[in-house]
Assembly symmetry: C2
Amino acid sequence: MGIETVAIIGGGLIGQSWAALFLAHGLHVRVQDVAKGFEAGVRDAVARAWPDLQAVGMAKGDVPWDHLSFSTRIDAACEGADFIQECGPDRIEVKRQIVAQIEAGAAADVVIASSTSSLLASDIQAGAAHPERIVVAHPFNPPHLVPLVELVPGHKTGAAAMAAARAFYEKIGREVVELKRDVVGHVANRLSSALFREAVHIVAEGIASAEDVDRAVMHGPGLRWALMGPYLTYHLGGGAGGFRHYMEHLGPTQAARWKELGDPELGPATVARLIAGVDEMLEGMGDADPAARRDAGLVGLLALKRGLDGDDQP
Amino acid sequence: MGIETVAIIGGGLIGQSWAALFLAHGLHVRVQDVAKGFEAGVRDAVARAWPDLQAVGMAKGDVPWDHLSFSTRIDAACEGADFIQECGPDRIEVKRQIVAQIEAGAAADVVIASSTSSLLASDIQAGAAHPERIVVAHPFNPPHLVPLVELVPGHKTGAAAMAAARAFYEKIGREVVELKRDVVGHVANRLSSALFREAVHIVAEGIASAEDVDRAVMHGPGLRWALMGPYLTYHLGGGAGGFRHYMEHLGPTQAARWKELGDPELGPATVARLIAGVDEMLEGMGDADPAARRDAGLVGLLALKRGLDGDDQP
């Protein structure tokens, strides 16, 4: 028996986007929140996401509004649900309270997947009645378009929960990356943070403007990173000898460059300089809506990559 | 009077790609090298690049082979040239010898642009007769497709040379990022190195496989980096409050994460582990040609971004 009903705990930006994705894959979705008027926020977000989900071939027909329901109670939302996607605030004491309320409503073997970006699965599951079914499943914004889901076990997570979560996310078209253990920032946010640290260093030291750092990424290595990660990139950089040749010949250059990378402090003067740089960049962009451009770009990119990989039927 | 003839010093991978790009923009190109049979290598590379240059709207018609000539002498190749693109080996003593030979042939006011990825403009121009016209113009592989050119002055570079180089590269459709001063790795390779350092840490520590690190990038943040850099990304991450809100609320989380990032050594055991991880990834890819996929992807991405930015006529 497969997963038919998913409870989403927390109807903010991430929960709304998960809701659209789950609905597009024929699931019944219950969204829980206590914020006044959150139902309208979820409905608006689903309606906005739907054309993009149709464009990438996931949603068919109109939004199945009768598959979407709401609750202000966590336990009630989880009763009878086959999968729980937790999207509450990233504070550990709040997470643990949410988990307790989920467990009050959910069957004991239902997977609880937390969308947390900054907490550890081991910390979230501490104190749970059934910690073995708790995993971290971290999406990237916006989750209904960016395919990555980082799946992370805590110390007490069971293999069955990891396998069930992987099967669930793969069935709805996600690219699952499984971590062997939980670390702060998982994988993708650690990589993003490493890049941002050097981006801050470059602007703080007056080497280049924030706008030019962004342009360097999106007109340079960022184009390749949409298509391949750093390992395959350096493998191609090694020519016929591949990654081994790269490491033997340019590894020492890399290691030397690492020693030159910055270790900036985010003090008030640096933060002010960064904000001024971003403001300057935004002024140059005029009335363009960067979020709309991003989503249109992501839709186009997903179609492009499907074509490259010979997988025209998503 | 504009630039009509460009001399390319060094007919390796980068020089070949520059040659194709320059030819596509109607320029006369002289390629200098001393390697046996380098002429055939350049011709092959230009012929291979041409369909992609047509697909992105830069090349029209057949390859203008009569615009391409060869020389084994640096001074002869530079005589009468309007612009010099230097693509020799990245060793400072070799670069300085090449510069001396360029200056023996080129007019005193012609810009000499070095494609170096690891040397400083200030070091390259030391000892030159006319150091004020020497700049670094660093492309990304493959230069005929990736639009970024990092333009970097040395201590002695004049504003006129920087302005002339910028005008030249912008005229041939490049996205020029100008650094205020020269630093090791310019901007984009510093950012790439920062990301790779953490990618090495993650694999070396057994957190995730090399393949999964690559998948995390290309199915996650890499998709966004093709469209926007880290500053605009975090600006959008700040919601209605933008980058300022992001820095005020999540800046401390970022700074805390920086402290957790790895500082791996590239010792023999780590290098062996990385190579094994890449080999495993490559086995899983079967017979696919990742360089061909990359180039097809870049062509598609450039077309996609032109469409997003309402610039259908390149």
